[in-house]
Subunit: 422 residues, 2 copies
């Protein structure tokens, strides 16, 4: 089985939107053992959509179409696909009811033009969309005596992911006689890609044409992705597990979790296990650290809160940083970072206090403290420590690298405290 | 003239790499008046590359191929393209010298396999690459008596951008008698796509085959993108400007900016113009609102800071929310939102105070206050107001929608205050 991805929308062709759906779908389909044969992207034009469908349906067993299901005049997917298969569009009462209910729940009146979203090409199955108004639409056809699928989904990533996971993945998984494919992703932080590869060492005994490993670095973290294939699922899973255990051991305390877990979720897990809480004082990260911590469902159990102290007055007033320390050392300094971490820990009554202060850029750099200079401090029941980092030139990347580094430092510290308490 | 983009590489199809080159090239080509007709992405397989070239060359005047020019066995582009055109690969001495010099400069020995990067299909022009080892390769062909181009570039974004800007863009710009293409993007917030379309009204007089409009919604905002074409650049720009002025007027105060501007940058612009500052008290957004405000370079001029009050103790201690109000009404309530906004404004000494409190989910919902219930409050020099919203089921989307709604409300308020002060 192979797949073609077809994204529809002028906004993609003129580069106003980056097609992140393609990468997400490519990964999910690979995991399901359905390699993507090609990705296509065309504009909101009938002839181009038809030519793309011709190509996709000529050799692919799963054709996933995204975009063009909105309520406006430039949304052509429903009409073009119905015409392509020579079937009429039918007004679906249950879809209409779902759309009406969605608007009613938000206390909004239904605009007349949203009614087109209840139109379904005859013979297509409706995939209810709990994340938006346009439902997914699935057409089942035959190739070599086997059922194959064309699926239409909205281009909004959250809606597309929801429909893929709820309807498309289970449909593919139900196909009998497929080779077992097992993926394991080990997550590490605080060690660069090359150093992690050296730490892991020689892998000749582990790798062959049925077992592969990829290193996937991104800001401050590296994922190690194992892919194993085999005719027998239990054997394939056991092989992947042995390899994963080996890599976990070699990665040591750089290892923080598996699969989709975020670093902030791992931090939450450790804090919960230790019955500990955290408070944060942010300057250069400007709220990002707290935003990430509170992205985790249930984080209110261990995130007390924090202070974004962008202006020195807030550092003094809400965090108790002494004015003379700010004047003597400047806001981006070890004593200020330490006073912020200790201050937020004490005033908010948490087990741990984390603080960031740095030059995010693009302005504000000096010879002594260039853009990318960041102090991170960690206040614990045993005292306060601080470290200086030199990150990059880009404002957003400096915020991200600082937040990731602080989160990972907190994770290692909670782990160490828990281990020494045993 | 139209273009096809063809990206080659398994890493794209399995989703290990997001194809950001496509968006970048799409935007650059649009700006140059060469609309992208389609984007294609195929793996490192001879037959798939050939099929893609067939399609691309059938109707496109500029075909930009990226990827597959590296030194390893899975880099097939050079060989496949040479075979496709039936020409031999020639060893190019000047390219070889550039590669050798590049390695020598870094004190590295040249790996034997890098020698293939000096191979050039006969008749192709070499585009020297100062950012990497593989040069670009350009084939000029004829269609309708006009010169047209197939260009091979490395997939590494920095190398691709360098080659495009240095060689491809000037080649296109030198073509005489090209049609002008003008894009305008109007940014709106606070009105849904359908309602905005209704508010804008009948567009029959504006739209034709040379002037199109697309609505591009994303969480809480809608972009309206005008595309205008014409033989005369000044006339085309004037037509786009008249249409933009019409849409701006119809959008009213939903309109906040143009082009790439973010809502948070628009808020910053308004605050700066008014000489005003803002402080934020976040509960359900958990730091996201401050994170977005501080993503804007120079935001320290108007962002005083804020408090993330996840726990009631912080709402009481740092923001002065009365304990009995929390007990009587609960944390997600109008009086608490108002007290948070007024408290952060007063304690941090800012012109405006913004507060969010809600049920982000997935837990914590009740019949009375289901997941997605959010109170936003705004404290101004003229008093404090609050509004209740019902957003969605997803935690991250609730945070995003709340932050966007609060930012937009702040923007409108600063605008209104500025207007009434005149």
């Amino acid at each position: 089985m192979t797949a073609t991805l077809l994204a529809i929308g002028d906004e993609l062709l003129i580069g106003q939107v980056v097609n992140t759906n393609a990468a997400w779908l490519g990964q999910r389909l690979s995991d399901l053992g359905v390699p993507v044969r090609r990705e296509l992207c065309v504009g909101d034009r009938d002839a181009d959509i038809r030519a793309a469908l011709d190509l996709a349906l000529s050799d692919s067993d799963v054709v996933l179409v995204s975009g063009g299901l909105g309520p406006t005049h430039d949304d052509l997917t429903r009409d073009t696909v119905a015409a392509y298969f020579g079937v009429p569009l039918l007004h679906d009462l249950s879809v209409m009811a779902a759309i009406e209910e969605r608007f009613a729940r938000r206390g909004r009146t239904l605009p007349e033009r949203n009614r087109v979203q209840a139109q379904v090409p005859e013979g297509f199955a409706v995939l209810p969309n709990t994340h938006g108004t346009a439902p997914g639409l699935m057409h089942t056809f035959e190739r070599d005596g086997q059922p194959r699928w064309l699926v239409l989904m909205p281009g909004v990533p959250a809606e597309l992911k929801h429909l893929f996971n709820t309807f498309v993945a289970p449909t593919i998984e139900a196909v009998p006689g497929r080779e077992a494919i097992v993926h394991r992703t080990l997550l590490t932080a605080g060690v660069g890609e090359s150093h992690l590869a050296e730490q892991v060492g020689d892998l000749t005994d582990w790798l062959d044409d049925r077992t592969t490993l990829a290193f996937l670095p991104s800001a401050g973290t590296v994922r190690m992705r194992i892919s194993a294939r085999g005719s027998d699922r239990a054997e394939t899973e056991a092989r992947a597990e042995r390899f994963a255990a080996f890599l976990r051991e070699r990665a040591g305390n750089a290892f923080y979790g598996e699969g989709d877990q975020t670093l902030e979720a791992a931090v939450g897990e450790r804090l919960n296990a230790a019955g500990a809480t955290v408070a944060v004082a942010e300057s250069c990260t400007g709220g990002l650290l707290l935003d990430r911590l509170t992205d985790v469902p249930g984080s209110s159990a261990y995130v007390v809160g924090g202070v974004v102290a962008y202006c020195n007055r807030v550092k003094i007033g809400l965090l108790g940083v002494p004015e003379e320390v700010l004047e003597t050392h400047g806001a981006v300094s070890e004593p200020v970072a330490r006073a912020m971490a200790a201050g937020v820990r004490e005033r908010l009554g948490s087990t741990f206090g984390v603080a960031t202060t740095g030059v995010a850029g693009p302005g504000g750099g000096t010879d002594e403290k260039p853009v990318g200079t960041v102090w991170i401090a960690l206040a614990t029941p045993n005292g306060t420590v601080a470290q200086c980092f030199r990150f990059v030139d880009d404002r957003r990347r400096n915020k991200t690298l600082t937040a990731t580094t602080a989160l990972d430092w907190l994770r290692r510290t909670v782990e160490k405290n828990a281990a020494s308490a045993l």
